[in-house]
């Protein structure tokens, strides 16, 4: 039976990546195909409805899948992750010359964040700020690629630009993008100061439903985990997808995001989309 996986085409390179993986997986004896979606919500709904067996999910999509599946009496597992998906952090950044010295000093000020559905630059850091006791925070959102759950980093970059331009007092972004924006010059060297850093959390995961053909699903996971960076055939694909190796999936790293989702009512406990101003 064909194992069908969903992926979200947040960038043209996604076609290259999954076409390449498809060719490789089929070459290893797995009857595999993929379907590309324009946003995560439909992918999640199709996964839980059994239209596809697996989905390369954002962390937010993982949470919704888990809730929708539970509400229907079904089970989903976090089967495999990239090594780069584990133990990420986000940072709250201010201009180097800002009078803001502590998170509490942000009270009454404006913070720039990414898209409404970005786990790393909106949901998790705003939850972190709330839990750090920052009151009366004004939030300026940069809604780029809504529905892509922050995979498109345009919103984070716009927030960083707004920080440099003095339009916001602070900006939130994933640690890796703070490094990237510094290297590419979006944040000129020495122009910003890290005010706070969230705890570690996990990012994307391969969600596999219990409706998937069991043998194919197991083979799929085994094959992904067998991919080695030393193999010149798959290395370019791993480079494109941003990993050195696939590691066993886990669910322990989604707590911070789950809290943020519950605090804001982004999804209800049964997995319905309840976020205001969210139109994927």
């Amino acid at each position: 039976m064909t194992l069908v996986m969903g992926g979200v085409a947040y960038d043209p390179k996604v076609v290259t990546i999954w076409d390449g993986f498809r060719t490789w997986l089929r070459g290893q004896g797995l009857d595999f195909d993929h379907v590309l979606y324009s946003h995560y919500e439909r992918q999640v709904e199709d996964l839980v409805a059994g239209h596809i067996h697996a989905a390369w999910n954002s962390p937010l999509a993982w949470l919704r899948t888990e809730r929708l599946a539970a509400a229907r009496g079904r089970a989903v597992r976090s089967a495999v992750m990239r090594d780069t998906d584990q133990d990420l952090t986000s940072v709250v950044v201010v201009r180097a010359d800002s009078p803001v010295r502590s998170l509490a000093d942000l009270t009454g000020r404006t913070v720039g964040v990414g898209a409404v559905d970005s786990p790393q630059s909106t949901l998790i850091p705003l939850s972190f700020l709330r839990r750090s006791g920052v009151d009366e925070l004004r939030v300026r959102r940069f809604d780029v690629g809504v529905g892509l759950h922050g995979d498109h980093i345009g919103g984070e970059r716009d927030a960083a630009r707004a920080l440099v331009a003095g339009e916001v007092d602070a900006a939130c972004m994933i640690d890796g993008n703070h490094l990237l924006f510094g290297q590419e010059g979006t944040l000129p060297a020495g122009s910003t100061r890290v005010l706070g850093q969230t705890g570690v959390y996990d990012h994307c995961t391969m969600a596999i439903m219990d409706t998937a053909p069991a043998d194919e699903a197991d083979l799929f996971v085994r094959l992904l985990e067998s991919m080695t960076y030393a193999d010149p055939q798959v290395r370019p694909l791993l480079d494109l997808e941003g990993l050195k190796q696939w590691v066993p999936g886990r669910t322990t790293g989604f707590g911070a995001l789950a809290r943020a989702v519950d605090e804001t009512g982004f999804y209800d406990p049964a997995g319905a989309v309840t976020a205001r101003e969210y139109v994927p």
Binding site: D87, L88, H178, G182, G190, Q197, A230, P232
Partner: protein, 402 residues
């Protein structure tokens, strides 16, 4: 220069941050330990912890903050870098002594001697056999060719124009027109071969590139000489172009360079010498002399290459013979040399319109034919043809000279 990092020694970055290149020092320290080895990093850049974590994750290294110590982190070297270069190989050696007989397509555009990462596209350079393209003389010829490049703007004294009788000037214009046509063919042939030679044989590519550049210059100076006195270009015959078209159609590297360089350009050496000798003005003499020096180099490479190949391939002479015969047969029904060109050569050598002068000019052109034939036979002999066969094959060479 900083000392080699002591394996596993703590790395103090001072106040250097990742926005200023800190990753270079971190990577260097990690390279000094085995995969799985640990490096402790410390530093004063406020964002260092954030950036170290993100950088290490992206590079596949382990990361942890050292408990009880501020601004100190521990990295564990991952296998990403060693995995990437696991199947890498050297693409021969950088010098001519590092050339391999059959460079694989996977080396592609990699510099000779480079460490080539496994994977990547296979190149489509079909001329990938050392014996098919190489000549030991190639590096020296290239160095000579690069040093011998001249600037058409300054190497020729374009103001040295002299009054040339109208008839003789028309003859010069016609011959120049014919030369341009031939040089264009001589430009396209090496350029086409160049694009097919495996870059591993870079000296051959370089030589062909300079050869094409030579021809480009010749096209320029001959055109400029033709138009020097305000006239129009001369005629181009169908037969002349048919002859050149057969040169362009030869796909085999050795046969193409044989027909072009050894036979064609070889004959042109005599022609250009003839034109310099009988030039009615200094500019004509200069441009034909400069071109002849370049052409001599092209002929030298062609002969050297084929000498090399005839030593390793006993069947080569049969192939060369076949190429001459095929070209002759293909051109049997064409008119060969542009009659306007032949007549112009006579007029140039005559220099005047008296019967005696024309007879002199005609005799000179006959001598030119003999000189071309002699040169071809000598070069064919160097490639191992016995004298009678060399004479027979030389006689089959196109009447278009090139």
């Amino acid at each position: 220069m900083i000392d080699e990092p002591r394996p596993g020694a703590p790395l103090d970055l001072g106040h250097l941050g990742f926005e200023q290149g800190a990753h270079l020092l971190v990577r260097r320290a990690l390279r000094a330990v085995e995969v799985g080895g640990r490096v402790t990093v410390t530093g004063g850049d406020p964002a260092l912890g954030v950036h170290l974590r993100a950088w290490a994750r992206g590079e596949g290294h382990g990361f942890a903050a050292v408990p009880d110590r501020s601004a100190t982190w521990e990295l564990v070297r991952g296998s990403g870098e060693s995995d990437r270069w696991a199947g890498a190989e050297r693409a021969g050696g950088p010098g001519p002594d590092g050339i391999v007989a059959r460079p694989p397509a996977r080396w592609g555009l990699a510099a000779r001697g480079a460490l080539v990462e496994a994977g990547g596209p296979d190149s489509r350079f079909d001329l990938d056999d050392r014996d098919v393209v190489w000549a030991d003389l190639a590096p020296r010829l290239y160095a000579h060719a690069a040093a011998a490049q001249w600037d058409p703007a300054t190497a020729v004294d374009w103001t040295a124009a002299r009054d040339v009788p109208a008839d003789v000037e028309a003859a010069v214009v016609q011959v120049m027109t014919y030369l341009v046509e031939n040089e264009q063919a001589a430009l396209v042939v090496p350029a086409g071969l160049l694009a097919r030679v495996h870059p591993h044989f870079r000296e051959v590519q370089q030589l062909l590139a300079v050869q094409a550049a030579d021809e480009a210059r010749h096209v320029e100076v001959f055109t400029r000489r033709a138009l020097l006195h305000g006239g129009q270009m001369g005629t181009s015959s169908a037969g002349g172009r048919s002859s050149l078209a057969t040169l362009l159609a030869e796909p085999d590297f050795s046969l193409a360079s044989f027909l072009l360089s050894v036979l064609g350009e070889g004959s042109f050496l005599s022609l250009l010498g003839f034109l310099e000798r009988h030039a009615p003005d200094p500019v004509t003499a200069q441009v034909t002399r400069l071109a002849r020096v370049d052409e001599a180099r092209h002929v030298a490479f062609g002969v050297a290459h084929l000498e090399h190949q005839s030593r390793v391939d006993p069947s080569l002479r049969g192939k060369l013979r076949g190429a001459i015969e095929r070209r002759h047969d293909a051109l049997a029904d064409t008119a060969g040399l542009n009659a306007d060109v032949f007549d112009s050569l006579v007029v140039l050598a005559a220099g005047a319109w008296t019967p005696a002068a024309i007879a002199r000019g005609h005799a000179a052109v006959q001598e030119l034919h003999h000189a071309m034939d002699d040169g071809r036979r000598q070069r064919l002999s160097r490639l191992g043809f016995p004298p009678d066969e060399a004479a027979e094959l030389s006689a089959l060479h196109t009447r278009n000279f090139m």
